[in-house]
């Protein structure tokens, strides 16, 4: 069995501590308020953790974001990422108009990142560059390029695995990316599968540069560019929002080949560094939130789907209720209720003989056995187990477990802990029975009938005594005058009449008690059925409801993140 959540069930969902982060002023703006995005991430992480979903990846994104906010955002960092030999360093040199990063025909060339920064921002950037572990820093005085620190990274596809590791370690921490590729490599599996596919959504400002276009005619180069642009749009969700693709030519140091001007313009176009950093952090946070939501089985793009649809839920609850009712034995309870009413009627309205038979029944335990619906109901455990009821529910919940995302399955499995369910159902049943504690009905008619019956019994006794006396005396004395009613002696007539009256009154009592008893029994049964149904439905899916409420929490936070951090495309 998987790990069950310890402590009381359902466990409390840990609320993230109230955020009292000391955020830089640039981190909050209309459209993307990083503080609020972080709060949402914290919420989603705590929900996910409650479901047992690993949150290490999200935590590291969070740490990267927090770390980035510790540095000034007056200058943003932009990384050149691409395969070996596509011309990353050459592009940088072309932009600079001088040799900034070493180029060579040997592959791979660059093995540690080189930064090219505005001289005015050098000191301000020192901390950030150290954080990024960029040691080689070159300055420039070109004010036209905008507030950007360009990082020339090593390749990610050569025989040197360490190069790719460096790129992967840096990608989550840079503010913008220029993906550099060329006519040979633009459809390489490693570029698409391992990088573009994974990172396009996590970045905001990015550009694709297709280098070495001078190998082709202008038309052919444009065809290739369109091919790649189509891919980018598709990756970004198909709505034409993919990063732009710019063609550049093989660049020799110092010469601004065609296209390099376009890259320059892209770099310089009225970009506010703070906005770039903010959008990047927001994109990264929103996408982390959405990925985590997906892992917990929630799609922020659509409504929350219930784990178990209403029909299946109702079916299982009905089945479980029926099983519980079978054990509780409603027919038995009804007949006990009728018997109890009759017994009560007998003792109050049965006259002296009724009292005697009541006493006998009580003595031999028949009354307790057959005429005590309260005790009968409370003894439901003796009439069978709740296993079938528990199974009806666990089997229904198995379906969502089967369909659940891998990460959530253990939490759901803990939900169908049958022992807890059985205990819960038993308590629910007890509760329903206790709430409808049977109070045996009574009637004012009964004592009346009782006194009539008593009177009849007295008459009966007197008549009998008279008769006995008459017989005894008749045999001792020869003849005594006895009133005679026609041919019959008076005592006999009285005796017979009293017997008839007693019988009639008894029948009347039984009839009335039976009617009252059945009416009460029916009401009791229907109340109980209803109560048990409600209690079972409440108990059966309490745990599932808990998971659903956690998922809804994730969904709400993820939706809020979309609002507060800006709507993001998702692949």
């Amino acid at each position: 069995m998987s790990a069950r959540p310890p402590g009381p069930w359902p466990p409390e969902i840990p609320k993230p501590p109230p955020s009292d982060r000391d955020l830089p002023a640039w981190a909050s703006a209309t459209g993307a308020h990083i503080g609020r995005c972080l709060d949402r991430l914290d919420e989603v992480m705590s929900f996910a953790a409650a479901l047992g979903v690993p949150v290490e990846g999200a935590a590291s994104v969070r740490d990267d974001v927090l770390a980035r906010m510790g540095f000034p955002a007056d200058v943003y960092t932009l990384a050149f990422v691409g395969g070996t030999g596509v011309g990353k360093s050459s592009l940088l040199n072309a932009l600079a108009g001088e040799s900034v990063s070493a180029t060579s025909v040997r592959r791979p060339t660059t093995d540690s990142p080189v930064a090219w920064v505005p001289g005015s921002a050098r000191s301000q950037l020192a901390g950030l560059l150290a954080h990024l572990e960029v040691r080689e820093v070159r300055e420039h005085a070109d004010e036209g390029l905008g507030q950007v620190a360009i990082l020339d990274l090593p390749d990610m596809d050569s025989v040197e695995p360490a190069h790719r590791e460096r790129v992967e370690a840096l990608l989550p921490r840079v503010d913008a990316v220029v993906w550099v590729t060329d006519l040979e490599k633009y459809h390489d599996a490693v570029l698409h599968d391992a990088f573009l596919h994974r990172w396009i959504d996590h970045l905001d400002r990015q550009l694709v540069v297709l280098n070495k276009a001078d190998r082709l005619t202008v038309d052919d180069a444009e065809r290739v560019r369109r091919d790649l642009q189509l891919d980018m749009d598709r990756l970004a969700g198909g709505d034409g929002t993919g990063p732009g693709v710019i063609i550049t030519s093989a660049i020799r140091e110092g010469s601004l080949g065609p296209g390099v001007g376009a890259v320059r313009r892209w770099l310089a176009e009225g970009v506010d560094a703070k906005a770039v950093v903010r959008s990047r952090l927001a994109a990264s946070l929103v996408n982390t939130i959405e990925s985590l939501a997906i892992v917990t089985g929630v799609d922020p793009g659509s409504e929350v789907k219930p784990l178990l649809d209403a029909d299946a839920r109702a079916r299982a609850a009905d089945q479980a209720t029926a099983s519980v009712l079978r054990v509780v034995d409603m027919a038995g309870a009804e007949s006990q209720a009728v018997a109890a009413t009759r017994a009560r009627a007998r003792s109050t309205g049965g006259g002296p003989l009724g009292r005697v038979s009541s006493g006998v029944y009580r003595l031999i335990g028949r009354e307790a056995r057959e005429a005590d619906p309260g005790a009968f109901l409370a003894r439901w455990r003796e009439r069978g187990s709740l296993s079938p009821a528990v199974d009806a529910i666990t089997e229904a919940v198995t379906e969502p477990i089967r369909r659940a995302p891998d990460a959530v399955r253990p939490a759901l499995l803990a939900v169908v802990d049958p022992e807890r369910l059985e205990v819960g159902l038993a308590a629910a049943t007890d509760r329903a029975i206790a709430e409808h504690g049977p109070e045996v009905p009574t009637s004012r008619v009964w004592p009346l009938l009782g006194s009539v019956q008593s009177a009849v019994t007295a008459v009966l006794g007197l008549a009998a005594a008279w008769l006995v006396l008459w017989i005894v005396i008749r045999f001792q004395v020869n003849e005594i005058a006895v009133p005679v009613l026609g041919q019959l002696p008076m005592p006999l007539v009285i005796l017979l009449l009293a017997l008839l009256a007693g019988l009639l009154v008894g029948r009347l009592l039984a009839f009335h008690a039976g009617w009252l008893g059945r009416r009460w029994a029916r009401r009791l049964a229907s109340d109980l059925r209803h109560a048990i149904g409600l209690e079972v439905a409440d108990t059966a899916f309490a745990s599932l409801d808990w998971v659903e409420s956690v998922q809804r929490g994730v969904w709400t936070a993820a939706r809020a993140a979309r609002e507060e951090c800006g709507e993001r495309r998702r692949s």
């Binding site: 070996t84 040997r106 599996a189 296993s387």
Partner: protein, 588 residues
């Protein structure tokens, strides 16, 4: 056709033995991607190369052009073909099919042999009458583009090649993706020519790139297999940027002169072809044993993994079966109503009164007047069967769910397990199967009582109570039992157990009763074990059999061992080749 094949060496027989083993392994669907890749390679290699070559060294010799996307494979191919046969273009990847340049007579042998099993839609055969029969030129699709099917096709073709031409560029020569293919060429000992396209124009830079590429190749252990020298470097042909023969979508012939020359030798000299084919076969055979061993290793590892997965199910079912036994042991699952009925029937008996005193005796006397006239056999049996089935189903479902959840994490079967909803609970026929077994169990208790009673001289009362009622007593006794306490103030189960035991021991004697009950319990345990085993078997059916895998590994190892000691080495092949040369290409 001894002179042109290695038919007499025992090799064909070994390959015939190996083939079905490999097919079996493929059909079993290896659990890990790496294992699937290895057996795929072995199958392709057997099918596309070894079987073809041992049949005849004169089967078409395959020169394969491979390389990353956009490196200029098709351009080179066109150069070698002398005409634009393979499409070149700017959109990557350009070639999504393999183009084969072949003599018309070689079409059929090639398709039935070397290229057997390759999807025909992904092949284009171009006839080239100028090429002699016995030489085929293949242009493979790329190794590294987003079209992953291209890589799979190239991998298949590599296994069939006799000679490799690796085309790359000055940009790409240090790319990581194609090195796996180069290593495979190395392992097979194939002759390899490297063409480095788009070289810088500066001679110094050309030298630098060539040296660097040579260093990488040497570091990866790639040597020229065509010379006797074990340390000979691979020939690298540098082609300068723009050195194109534009009209034919080809490289300038001058640039690749040395490669053209090598192809020309193969074209003109059958012996050269045969020598190359022989060398490729020797390399193939040398590598075959280790490859078969690796596949056998995979089988053994998989057998261990499968057994571990089976154990997950075994553990879950055993645990739940033990829990079920525990739940049954105290008789708590029996509804007390049924027990009370039985107690009322048996407890009213005078036997009980013998052991009661005072008020109990009087109560017994009174209640014996109310004694049910008919033993409640059917009611109790039905109630017991029903309750037992419900409880057992509950535990069986638990076991199934635990197993399914655990198995959903095993990558190789995860999809199948997740798809099959029926695996996640006890099977639909669980109830009916268990009920049938329980009915049989109760019948057997009856048989047992009759056998015991026949030898024991049953009491007259016992006979009057009837075998069915006694059977019910024994059945209940196998769940509920008490250790000599008087049942008066204990729960109904203990009280019923008490009177039940008194009745049975009075009828059969203490020892015989104990045996009867013990036998009933053992048989019930068997019934439950059997039913749970049936449930577990639904899971085991999903898995391959570890025994079969181990056996397969064993057979593969046998073949690998024999391959190692096969009397065919380089020397033998040289001899065969020499024989072939002296006798000439006489018979077909």
């Amino acid at each position: 056709v001894i002179d042109r094949s290695v038919g007499g060496s025992g090799l064909p027989e070994l390959v015939d033995r190996l083939q079905p083993l490999v097919d079996e392994r493929m059909a079993g669907g290896p659990w890990s991607d790496a294992a699937a890749e290895r057996v795929r390679r072995l199958r392709d290699h057997l099918l596309g190369h070894i079987r073809v070559r041992i049949r005849s060294l004169d089967a078409p010799l395959v020169v394969l052009i491979v390389g990353p996307t956009g490196a200029g494979k098709s351009t080179l191919f066109n150069t070698l073909a002398g005409r634009p046969e393979s499409a070149t273009g700017v959109l990557r990847p350009t070639t999504r099919i393999a183009v084969v340049l072949v003599h018309p007579d070689d079409r059929e042998p090639l398709l039935d042999g070397t290229l057997a099993g390759v999807d025909r839609d992904r092949l284009r055969l171009a006839d080239e009458p100028r090429l002699p029969a016995g030489l085929a030129l293949l242009d493979a699709p790329d190794l590294d583009s987003i079209e992953h099917a291209n890589r799979r096709l190239a991998d298949r073709l590599i296994e069939a090649a006799d000679m490799g031409v690796f085309v790359t560029t000055a940009t790409r020569y240090a790319d990581r993706a194609p090195w796996e293919v180069l290593r495979r060429i190395r392992d097979r000992g194939l002759p390899l020519v490297v063409v480095l396209n788009r070289m810088p124009s500066d001679p110094d830079e050309q030298r630098e790139v060539l040296d660097d590429a040579a260093r990488l190749l040497a570091e990866a252990g790639l040597r020229d297999a065509t010379t006797g020298d074990a340390e000979a470097a691979i020939e690298i042909i540098g082609v300068a940027e723009g050195d194109l023969d534009g009209a034919r979508e080809a490289l300038s012939p001058v640039a690749v002169a040395s490669l053209l020359e090598r192809i020309a030798v193969l074209r003109d000299d059958q012996d050269a072809r045969r020598a190359l084919a022989g060398r490729a076969l020797v390399g193939a055979l040398a590598g075959l044993g280790p490859l078969v061993d690796a596949v056998a290793d995979d089988c053994e590892h998989e057998a261990i993994d499968v057994a571990a997965t089976q154990r997950l199910a075994r553990t879950a079912f055993n645990r739940e079966l033990a829990a079920l036994r525990e739940a049954l042991a105290g008789g708590l699952f029996l509804r007390q109503e049924a027990l009370r009925q039985w107690q009322a029937y048996v407890g009213a008996d005078e036997i009980t009164r013998l052991f009661s005193r005072g008020i109990g005796r009087i109560r017994g006397l009174i209640s014996s007047m109310f004694r049910p006239s008919r033993p409640p056999v059917a009611e109790i049996r039905d109630a017991t069967s029903e309750d037992l089935t419900a409880v057992a189903r509950h535990y069986a479902s638990e076991a199934a769910r635990a197993t399914a959840v655990a198995w959903a994490d095993v990558p190789a079967i995860s999809v199948q397990v997740r798809k099959d909803a029926s695996l996640w609970t006890a099977s639909a026929d669980f109830d009916s199967h268990l009920r049938a077994r329980l009915d049989q169990w109760i019948r057997e208790i009856g048989d047992d009582i009759q056998a015991t009673g026949a030898t024991k001289r049953m009491l007259a009362r016992g006979a009057s109570i009837g075998v069915n009622a006694l059977g019910t007593g024994v059945m209940l006794a196998s769940f509920i039992h008490t250790a000599g306490l008087t049942g008066a103030e204990l729960g109904v189960a203990a009280a019923t157990a008490f009177v039940n035991q008194k009745l049975l021991s009075a009828l059969f004697g203490e020892a015989a009763m104990a045996e009867l009950v013990a036998r009933a319990r053992t048989r019930l345990a068997d019934v439950l074990t059997e039913t749970f085993a049936e449930q577990e078997a639904r899971f085991t059916a999903v898995l391959p059999s570890p025994a079969a895998l181990t056996a397969l590994a064993h057979e593969l190892r046998d073949v690998a061992d024999e391959l190692r000691y096969l009397p065919v080495g380089v020397a033998d092949l040289q001899e065969l080749l020499a024989g072939a040369r002296s006798s000439g290409p006489s018979e077909p």
